[in-house]
């Protein structure tokens, strides 16, 4: 676990939180944040696609089914529990369901780095799972909100929202570059890996510094969410991780692969989901979903969660 905490990535995140609590004037220009996001999505997609080209259909089919199952079911119970136990309004519960059902590319990358650090192998095609798991949960959550709630006016249809999400920045880059990675093979991959592979962890370090800056500001909103939100923000990922590892095991993934599927299930989206919620669920309060995803679940996952899920996977695989 110390290895995980003492990685430059995690420490950069903590430094970001500290900087923000000290009211530092450190600020990433918007366009740097956007550029880092574009880079990470392309890099994840390309490498995943290239590795997918080395796998057979049989290897991928069952894990893919497990991944889809996870991201379609998670929003259902997250919504129900948030409504019942959390007493959240329909839009707030739906927004939380969207975030927890979808996945975080950065948490995913931290999990890869963790496994590479420990020298534990995993299936190279895992990034294609990430690409598949991003959108469905958001759509399901928005549909849930629509069925339970009539907003005043002029809403887009679910079909329109689906189209927008698929053409949305993050899924377009992820899916597009998985396909490009699949198509270009080894020669193509080697042409671009000096940009998209070698400096990857460094870029991730930069991104996490920025994430820490925002998470630090959100810490002040913790009290608004209350203890309940903190409890949810820790319990949900643990439950989802266990479920994900178990399903991954059933689907025939290796120890590393199953852990990473668990991390995907446990992670909460904070690139695609917040943007989608701002447009499709504007009545939901960002204080809840951003605080939960960015200030509770995300740090929990990268600091405590990933090593914990790894221990659990070791236990389950023996």
């Amino acid at each position: 676990m110390l290895t995980s905490i003492l990685s430059p990535m995690v420490l950069a995140f903590l430094l970001g939180i500290i900087a923000s609590r000290l009211k530092s004037d450190l600020k990433f220009p918007d366009s740097l944040y956007q550029s880092l996001t574009i880079y990470l999505l392309i890099a994840i997609g390309l490498k995943g696609g290239y590795k997918l080209s080395l796998a057979t259909f049989e290897e991928v089919a069952l894990p893919a089914a497990a991944a889809i199952a996870l991201c379609c079911m998670i929003p259902l119970w997250t919504y129900a529990i948030m409504r019942k136990a959390g007493k959240f309004s329909v839009p707030n519960a739906a927004a939380l369901a969207a975030h927890y059902g979808s996945v975080s590319a950065v948490t995913f990358s931290a999990a890869l780095a963790f496994h590479e650090g420990l020298g534990i192998s995993f299936e190279g095609f895992m990034p294609s799972m990430l690409a598949m798991m991003e959108i469905p949960a958001i759509l399901i959550a928005i549909a849930l909100a629509r069925m339970n709630y009539t907003s005043s006016a002029g809403q887009a249809s679910i079909k329109e929202i689906a189209r927008e999400l698929l053409a949305g920045k993050s899924s377009l880059l992820l899916i597009g570059f998985v396909i490009i990675g699949l198509a270009v093979g080894k020669t193509g991959w080697e042409q671009v890996s000096p940009l998209f592979d070698m400096p990857f962890k460094g870029v991730l370090t930069l991104f996490l510094l920025e994430a820490g800056l925002v998470a630090g500001r959100k810490l002040s909103d913790l009290k608004k969410g209350g203890l309940l939100l903190i409890a949810f923000g820790i319990m949900f990922p643990i439950l989802h991780a266990i479920l994900g590892i178990w399903l991954g095991h059933l689907a025939g993934l290796s120890l590393g692969g199953a852990t990473i599927l668990g991390v995907l299930a446990a992670s909460a989206s904070y690139i695609a989901a917040p943007a989608a919620c701002r447009v499709a669920l504007p009545e939901a309060n960002p204080s809840y979903y951003l605080t939960a995803a960015l200030a509770i679940t995300f740090p929990f996952n990268i600091i405590v969660g990933i090593p914990l899920y790894h221990e659990f996977a070791v236990y389950m695989f023996n």
């Binding site: 918007d30 907003s151 006016a153 943007a275 447009v279 960002p286 204080s287 951003l290």
Partner: protein, 98 residues
């Protein structure tokens, strides 16, 4: 005589596309947009997680100004963090705007 209205709309950045299209459909001959951040009753909007704002300015006749405002009010105002306001400005030749 050369007086028209400068209507300013400040809204969630993701609404830029639709709003720009709609104000042109409602009669505006052009618009000018820029990225801004801000704070209002719905909270702070100055980072990519909370979202940031777009400021759309359009010079239009008073009647088109009202048409646009009515449209925004029904479609967006209730649901989205957003403000709009207008004031008269003098332009050089009105033909470019009406």
């Amino acid at each position: 005589m050369n007086t028209l209205m400068l209507l300013t709309i400040i809204a969630e950045e993701n609404l830029a596309g639709p709003i720009e299209e709609e104000i042109v459909k409602l009669g505006a001959k052009g618009y000018t947009s820029s990225a801004v951040s801000g704070k209002g009753v719905s909270g702070v909007r100055d980072n990519q997680w909370d979202g940031e704002n777009i400021k759309i300015e359009t010079i239009v006749s008073e009647s088109i100004c009202q048409t646009i405002l009515n449209h925004l009010q029904t479609k967006y105002f209730e649901r989205y963090p957003m403000i709009a306001f207008y004031h008269p400005v003098t332009v050089i030749r009105t033909t470019q705007f009406t």
